[in-house]
Symmetry: C2
Subunit: 303 residues, 2 copies
């Protein structure tokens, strides 16, 4: 042991770290889905509804800047967690807010963050039921814990995809760093409609960029994937690389049986005329994935 080199988070790999940390966690009988999907799923297998649980954090200097509008910071914090709930096909219910902030912070800034939280809560039907405030000797830290629910029959995991399923994304990817990451709309309504009418086999929200997140969905489903690079919908002015890697798109990525593809592509623009839906490839049986570009490298919080 003496003198052996130490490992640091930088370069260790976020997925590897999370897998190692969550290995061997005690898990009660009612935990249907634990760490590794967009939300945890709690309930008994035959319950009509299951509970969804998700926590997500924004940190000053990482997810927003000190100069950003604090109302938009509050909005973003709650909407990030809502996006994860959408990815399971769920409806939100209750939120807890944890705020750690410097004593030298202006009261007005903290109130503006809360104004943004309240606006998102009202818009998406969330009750903020409590939380905690603490001093921070460093950056501002805003953590949201969210509960929600989903009908058993409409709960969508990352792991249900099958070889041959068509892969879709909502909206356009990339450009979050230009400011969109503070103003996005979690795709709750779209996901609810999808799970009511089309039952995607697998779904997740795009938080770390398609290049990082699609391999996660494929891996969870025991599949590889084929990605048609030229079809990837890009935000105005962004490169393909940015569309793949910027992260914080908060769009839905889902896998659908190919026999439903034509029906979905006909119905979607009537229901959501202002939000693009794009077929970007398919899941494959091979664990090796095909891209007509460089293999993607994901966004890693510690890289």
């Amino acid at each position: 042991m003496g003198g052996s080199s130490k490992n640091y988070l930088r370069g260790y790999g976020e997925d590897r770290l999370v897998a190692e940390l969550t290995r061997g966690l005690p898990r009660g009988r009612e935990v249907l889905v634990g760490p590794g999907d967009d939300c945890a799923v709690i309930g008994r297998p035959r319950d009509v509804r299951w509970q969804l649980l998700k926590a997500d954090v924004v940190v000053e200097g990482v997810h927003f800047l000190p100069s950003d509008d604090p109302r938009r910071v509050g909005w973003k914090a709650l909407c990030r967690a809502l996006s994860d709930l959408a990815a399971m096909g769920g409806e939100p219910a209750h939120a807890l807010v944890t705020l750690a902030v410097s004593p030298d912070e202006e009261v007005a800034r903290v109130k503006a963050i809360y104004a943004g939280l309240k606006r998102a809560a009202k818009r998406f039907g969330v009750s903020i039921v409590g939380g905690e405030t603490s001093r921070s000797p460093g950056p501002l830290f805003l953590d949201i814990a969210l509960t929600g629910w989903v009908e058993r029959s409409r709960c969508v995991l990352r792991s249900g995809g099958r070889a041959g399923d068509a892969l879709y994304v909502t909206g356009r990817l990339g450009g979050s760093r230009a400011g969109r990451h503070l103003d996005f709309t979690p795709r709750l309504a779209e996901a609810r409609w999808l799970t009511e009418h089309f039952r995607p086999r697998a779904m997740m929200d795009l938080s770390d960029g398609l290049a990082a997140d699609l391999p996660r969905l494929a891996r969870a489903s025991g599949c590889g994937f084929t990605l048609e690079m030229e079809t990837i919908p890009r935000s105005p002015g962004v490169t393909l690389d940015q569309a793949l890697r910027d992260g914080e798109d908060f769009e839905l990525l889902f896998a659908l049986p190919p026999r439903l593809a034509a029906k979905l592509e006909g119905a979607w623009p009537k229901k959501f005329p202002r939000l693009r839906l794009t077929r970007i490839g398919q899941l494959s049986a091979s664990q090796r994935s095909t891209l007509n570009a460089q293999p993607p490298r994901g966004f890693d919080h510690f890289a």
Copy 2:
């Protein structure tokens, strides 16, 4: 407005800030208790069981030091939230863990924090079902969101106390800064026994010190209080002032109808021979409170 002085959190008053932030929050029909008690309570009035929700955070440099044993830091983080659940008379169920940490942190330290979390989770029957990791450009933040439940008939709020109720605390107060704050035991078993056999009218856990927390319980109950200073149970070697103000005792404070006092004082030492129970005063009708010492000043995170 122009040129008016700005308010900063330091000196603003934590209770005032929280009251202002949580005013006007959207609140759904199933929110039985929102911000202001130890946990939020969710359910319908006639449900047999209600859900409890709580979030709590520890911040490096505030709640623990970089040199502290990381296993004890993980233990503390989960046990703080468990202490709040105990204060409602509840049983814990599921936890989400949010960790924000520097990329320059050692992997071994993060794993040791998780080892402490897992130890507390196993000890108290909690399933850690998910969470989030993020980069921190500053101190390490460890936030816990906890769900639990309580039978409707055993749920204890801060607000149920009545004038004349006897006030009790478990354990000994003060001395947390000498290290006890990393090793305390949340009083889940004691609170469950109390709510089964004695139905306290009001209860909370002591996190900010008796001097800050007792006035909160009294105010929530619409009462004042009389505190017999000489009865306050102190940890070895601490002054009365430290016992009142150190904070992080994580003992129970509760109010009991005086007719039950003798029975409780007889039964407690048989059930919990190693944990002291002390009657420290009573709730009073007057909103003015009587102390045979200086008026207490509470622990304020931003003071």
